[in-house]
């Protein structure tokens, strides 16, 4: 399978600050690749390079088999971008925003209402965007990003700061896009979201790409599997964690189950954040 996106040895500096240092990765059709990293890790700079807004100092980018540049309308017509900043036309309505962008893509018979319905904005279609809440604006941003049914979708912190309902709506939309075959590059510092959505995750820190793999593989490779048992006797409650890798783990679990004190048993697996800290030596806190 030809990758939708192939980035090789990308570097970019803002003056003396090396924002991205020689990173390489690929993205396949229908795949969601989660770019995990704290603020300032180089995620947004990478997206700007890939979408042609920045020219890399070194390296090459091939999108849909074509070399990426800002002067390649054929590539631009097949990608969608949802920026972290809500760069919408505030004096125009939601419908007008979408119709305007549909004209830039040369879309015939574009149905803005259908798209607005998908992002739960149908009843606010004729309101100016300046009157939208943060969540509504973000959902409109998402609608704008998929207006042209892109083959490659770039999402920069799409659910950052959103309420749970808006976040879930956007996550569902991201999955739908991947299911129809779009390659999705998702940057986030929300490890839970990355774990839930991503087929593979990439750990980026201080401009360096540390690892790219599936969340399961990373957990198998770096995580410590364990079982947490909660025990209660009279008024006393205590917890015991049993490492599954330990030689006597099986016997100890049997012993506890046979006792009458077991209240709950939970399997514990390493989170992506644990693994990120282990690999990069730094947390994902913003």
């Amino acid at each position: 399978m030809n990758p939708s996106l192939l980035a090789t040895n990308l570097s970019y500096s803002y003056g003396n600050l090396e924002a991205v240092r020689g990173i390489s990765f690929h993205l396949n059709p229908g795949e969601i690749l989660g770019f995990l990293g704290p603020n300032g890790a180089g995620k947004s700079t990478t997206i700007k390079m890939i979408t042609g807004l920045l020219t890399p100092d070194t390296g090459s980018i091939h999108l849909l088999g074509m070399e990426m540049s800002l002067d390649n309308p054929e590539v631009q017509a097949r990608i969608g971008v949802c920026f972290e900043e809500k760069n919408l036309y505030l004096n125009m309505t939601g419908r007008e925003n979408l119709k305007f962008f549909s004209r830039l893509f040369g879309l015939k018979n574009f149905d803005a209402d259908d798209l607005l319905k998908k992002v739960d904005l149908a009843n606010r279609a004729d309101d100016r965007v300046s009157k939208y809440s943060k969540g509504m604006r973000q959902r409109l941003m998402m609608a704008r990003a998929i207006i042209n049914r892109p083959d490659v979708l770039f999402l920069d912190e799409p659910t950052n700061g959103l309420d749970p309902v808006s976040s879930r709506t956007l996550r569902n939309m991201i999955r739908e896009q991947a299911e129809r075959g779009a390659a999705v590059l998702l940057t986030t510092h929300d490890m839970w979201e990355a774990d839930e959505l991503s087929d593979r995750v990439a750990f980026l820190n201080e401009g360096k790409l540390y690892v790219v793999d599936t969340p399961d593989n990373l957990k198998m490779k770096y995580g410590k599997r364990s079982v947490k048992v909660r025990l209660g006797s009279d008024s006393h409650v205590r917890e015991e964690t049993i490492e599954l890798a330990a030689a006597d783990a099986g016997d100890r679990i049997k012993e506890l189950i046979n006792s009458d004190n077991v209240m709950t048993i939970h399997t514990e697996e390493a989170t992506l954040e644990d693994i990120f800290i282990e690999i990069t030596g730094r947390g994902l806190d913003v």
Binding site: T51, G52, L53, L70, D71, P73, E74, Q76, A77, R78, I79, V81, F83, E85, N87, L88, Y89, L90, N91, M92, E96, F100, F101, R103, L104, F105, G106, K108, R128, R144, N148
Partner: protein, 377 residues
């Protein structure tokens, strides 16, 4: 295979979007019609004729007849001088002081003026001068009173005043350097019309600057550039939007003030060139400013020098070299000549050429700087 929008379709889409945004901006939607109406009202309340006659009040009134006889006889020398007689010296003083401005100068002669002149006793003469008459004019009046005394003396004696002088009067021949506008002076209304047109054009530059700075401040320009729209489409659209806004306003103004009664083709070309300059100023101001106040600040910095040639129309004499080097000088001169004096292509052509060169330079600079700004967002 997906269809990719043509460059023209993309540019048109951006222009329509800009015009829609402009129509939603409450500030400009209030400011634009108000300023247009204000300019039209200013134009309409200004006088549409030029009075080339100086009115002189004279007491006593019977001497006014002698003055008039003198004027009728020496039409060439006293052309443009009108005499009004007053029966009372106080009335004359009141007319100069409180009148409508028609009589700025009054001469009150003693009742026995001619007798005292003939007897050589030299009685005193009161000259009433309005406060608005400059000092130089007052001195000239003193000389004038002496001349009048001679003339009255001669007229009273039934002789030609010019032949009764003790010396032979040299033959004066006025040589007008430049164009003699006597009898066809440009009314104030027509002189101010080019100023108002330039002002309207430059005000619309601020409207475009607002649209540009919002695209930069909200980074919507970035959203455009990751679509098939190119930076060139964005810049062209902004230029077209600015030109449409500026042309529409100035067109409406000239329509309301009869500007198209002159050579409409030259007037249209001048508006187009002015609108192009306005667009360049708008794009430069929008590129420089980071917010509304910043845009207004930079806009004013550009607009004030460009208004100077227009303001210089109001003052007599040839503008200084510095003024003639300003980008709007050619445009102002051409507008002034065409809209004020009804001149044609021969007069306007060199100014049009200069303005085209300035437009190319200013628009080129605006495109270069705005491109850099947008692509570095």
């Amino acid at each position: 295979m997906r269809s990719v929008s043509s460059r023209l379709a993309i540019t048109v889409a951006i222009v329509l979007k800009d015009l829609r945004e402009f129509s939603r901006d409450r500030l400009w939607m209030i400011l634009t019609p108000i300023s247009l109406i204000f300019m039209i009202v200013i134009f309409l309340i200004l006088p549409d004729t030029v009075s080339e006659t100086i009115t002189l009040g004279v007491y006593p009134s019977y001497l006014a007849e002698s003055f008039s006889t003198l004027i009728d006889r020496e039409e060439g020398e006293f052309q443009g001088l009108e005499i009004i007689g007053f029966a009372d010296e106080d009335q004359l003083a009141d007319a100069v002081l409180w009148g409508s401005g028609e009589i700025l100068i009054g001469i009150a002669l003693p009742a026995d003026f001619t007798e005292s002149l003939l007897s050589g006793s030299g009685d005193s003469v009161s000259v009433y001068v309005s406060e608005s008459v400059p000092q130089e004019m007052r001195r000239a009046l003193s000389s004038g009173v002496r001349e009048i005394a001679y003339a009255v003396q001669a007229v009273y004696a039934g002789r030609n005043p010019l032949s009764t002088l003790p010396v032979a009067l040299p033959h004066l021949q006025a040589r007008i350097l430049g164009e003699d506008m006597a009898g066809r002076q440009v009314p104030l209304r027509d002189r101010i019309r080019p100023i108002l047109v330039i002002l309207i054009l430059l005000i619309e530059a601020l409207a475009l600057a607002g649209l540009v700075s919002v695209e930069i401040e909200h980074r919507t320009a970035t959203a455009l550039l990751i679509t098939p729209a190119r930076t060139g489409d964005f810049l062209t659209a902004k230029c077209v939007t600015g030109t449409i806004l500026a042309m529409t306003q100035s067109f409406l103004f000239l329509l309301a003030t009869g500007g198209f009664l002159f050579d409409w083709l030259i007037v249209s070309v001048l508006i187009l060139l002015g609108a192009g300059m306005s667009s360049a100023v708008g794009m430069l101001s929008g590129t420089s400013g980071r917010d509304f106040i910043g845009t207004l600040f930079y806009g004013t910095i550009f607009i004030i020098p460009l208004m100077i040639p227009a303001l210089s129309i109001m003052f007599p004499g040839r503008p200084s070299v510095i003024i003639r080097l300003l980008p709007s000088y050619g445009l102002t001169e051409a507008m002034s000549g065409v809209l004020g004096e009804g001149k044609g292509w021969c007069f306007a052509a060199p100014h049009i050429m200069t303005t085209i060169l300035w437009d190319i330079f200013l628009l080129g600079s605006a495109f270069f700087l705005l491109r850099r700004r947008v692509e570095s967002l």
